[in-house]
């Protein structure tokens, strides 16, 4: 299954640019920082860390020239696409998807209160993923992350 196979089935093609990627990366950084705050509840830390994880997966799709179309299952799709977008080992997807299921159980069924170990695991996973995203962008889409050359003073 390639990403192109998913066009019309949850994905569509859409170009991105440096400004858009920068917005994603800024939000991801802020959420990761918030997820490490120990003066808020474990629930909230879990939620905000999951949002960071999800935005990493979405940013990875954007960097590849795709975006998810609205509809059920787009979170799962973005997470499962990670091996295709930024080359994470397929074995890691199962863990990330487990976090997604937990977050849904908490959000929709009020049936999940994370333990400290689970919050730490998610925060660490999101943190690792963010580094992988940035490394991938630098290696494969440097134009999307390099600072724009500052305009030289004209003559």
């Amino acid at each position: 299954m390639t990403l192109d196979n998913l066009i019309g089935r949850g994905l569509e093609e859409a170009e991105t640019d440096r400004q858009e990627l920068a917005r994603y990366l800024d939000r991801i950084r802020r959420k990761l920082a918030d997820s490490r705050q120990t003066n808020i509840s474990l629930d909230s830390r879990f939620d905000v860390a999951f949002e960071a994880l999800l935005q990493i997966a979405l940013a990875a799709l954007r960097a590849r020239g795709y975006r998810t179309t609205s509809g059920a299952g787009h979170q799962q799709l973005a997470i499962q696409a990670l091996p295709k977008t930024i080359g994470i080992p397929p074995g890691e997807v199962r863990t990330l998807d487990e976090f997604r299921k937990r977050r849904s159980a908490g959000l929709y069924l009020a049936d999940f209160e994370p333990s400290a170990a689970e919050v730490e695991a998610l925060v660490a996973a999101a943190d690792r993923l963010q580094k992988q995203l940035v490394a991938w962008l630098k290696a494969h889409r440097p134009g999307l992350v390099e600072k724009a050359p500052s305009p030289k003073p004209g003559k």
Binding site: E113, A117, A121
Partner: protein, 193 residues
């Protein structure tokens, strides 16, 4: 654990029970059961006949199709399910899968729909683990079990101290898990090893 099952049951009975109790609500045809267990159809038929005669397995006939499943009305259904689960069923599969990380696990137990014996084909296997194992390692170790049983294993992980504190203050989730049916696979609830 396998030794216990091998002592109590012959090879064919053990294979039949392990498969039947993997999903006690599911109906199996004879040939299907033979194929899934690798036991010959003749031997399996003989086995099922005995289990049905003892009322441990229920035989149903619908539209000329004969199917088998554990008899939930049997007076020893719960005990047998628990015994099979621990010694050769899902519980044993999970316990074996976790064995490489045994030193980082103080307690592991199955709870929820499967432990109640009401496991529908689609429900996840709920597993509670207490210890210092990393969440990602836990999920990785359980991946082969998921493939084998054809459903996802959903682990909850608690550090030992966190677990004790939650137990101490009677946290809702842990209370409902421990009050409900559950099967301990490693360690002990009262005193995680």
């Amino acid at each position: 654990m396998e030794r216990i099952a091998a002592t109590l049951f012959g090879k064919t009975r053990r294979a039949a029970l392990a498969r039947l109790f993997l999903d006690p609500a599911r109906e199996y045809r004879l040939r299907e059961l033979a194929r899934l267990t690798g036991i010959s159809a003749g031997a399996m038929q003989h086995e099922l006949k005995q289990l049905v005669a003892a009322d441990l397995v229920r035989r149903s006939e619908q539209g000329g199709q004969v199917t088998y499943r554990p008899n939930a009305e049997s007076p020893v259904f719960d005990e047998l399910r628990s015994l099979v689960e621990k010694t050769s069923g899902i519980g044993e599969l999970v316990r074996k899968a976790l064995q490489p990380a045994a030193r980082r696990i103080r307690l592991a137990l199955i709870y929820g729909s499967i432990a109640k014996g009401a496991n529908r084909a689609r429900s996840d296997l709920d597993l509670l683990v207490v210890g210092s194992i990393a969440f990602g390692d836990l999920v990785r170790l359980l991946a082969p079990v998921e493939r084998r049983i054809g459903r996802e294993v959903s682990p909850r992980l608690f550090g030992e101290q966190d677990f004790r504190e939650r137990l101490g203050r009677g946290e809702r989730f842990l209370k409902s898990v421990l009050r409900g049916p559950h099967t301990v696979l490693m360690g002990q609830v009262d005193d995680p090893r």
